[in-house]
């Protein structure tokens, strides 16, 4: 509850910016493994926004399934 009320401590992108870079973040995660380090404000947003986090999880799962 406290985490949801206070959100992430670090600077974060907006929902629009999150959508704009979602594909880049997922491919960085799956192909290079450096997404969180390269895009920290994006990672912070995923901790604060359940809707964007759900879409991130789904896209990552879909692309992973595609690769398998």
């Amino acid at each position: 509850m406290i985490d949801r009320l206070l959100g992430p401590a670090d600077p974060e992108v907006s929902c629009d910016e999150c959508f704009a870079h979602l594909d880049e973040y997922v491919d960085r995660e799956l192909l290079r493994g450096d997404a969180e380090k390269a895009m920290p404000a994006f990672a912070a947003h995923l901790r604060g926004c359940p809707a964007c986090a759900e879409e991130h999880q789904s896209l990552r799962a879909l692309v992973t399934q595609d690769a398998g």
């Binding site: 509850m1 406290i2 009320l5 401590a9 979602l22 594909d23 912070a44 926004c49 879409e55 789904s58």
Partner: protein
Amino acid sequence: MPVAAGEDLLQRLRAAGPGSDAAAAELHALLLRAARFEIGRRRAALAHLHGESAEDLALQAADDAFVAVMAKLDTFEGRSRFTTWVYKFAVYEAAVRVRRRAWQHREVVIDAEAWLAVGDTRTGPADAAGRNELFAAIRRLVATSLSERQRDVLVALAVEGVPIDVLAERLDSTRGALYKTLHDARRKLRAELAREGHDLEGLG
């Protein structure tokens, strides 16, 4: 879809003329697959779906995603694989539809005053005393430091768990605008808590 096939599809979509219809059909099929995937993941939320099937939802999501992809085709910069870029439009359209359908027959009552009045202790019994103290301070600051709009949006999203797309629809707003309000409210709370000397280390 292999990377090369995705790049080939991009070229064929960008090139007008013979073959563009086939490329468009191929794109739509990709989007439909992604929409079905997303709706399949959220099937539990759609258990009460009336009149409209999951396949209808997937088709609507794929159709809207198709329009969005075609409108933004020239903005694709190759920062990801083309298929990953395409999929995100269908996942987004399907996810928003699922959240809204799941709440279609549920009333959204934003009652920040009630939450502040009842002495909510949902941080859980296992919380340390310091955490309960922090929670009490947050509740006090929600009541005294935030605007009415910030209070309502924060309580609806963070306490009541209303999905942001559902709240946006009910308040005639957008996800981006509501998240900005939520973000501003959270910043204000963090700043006030820090000013009062609360330890926020390890939170968020």
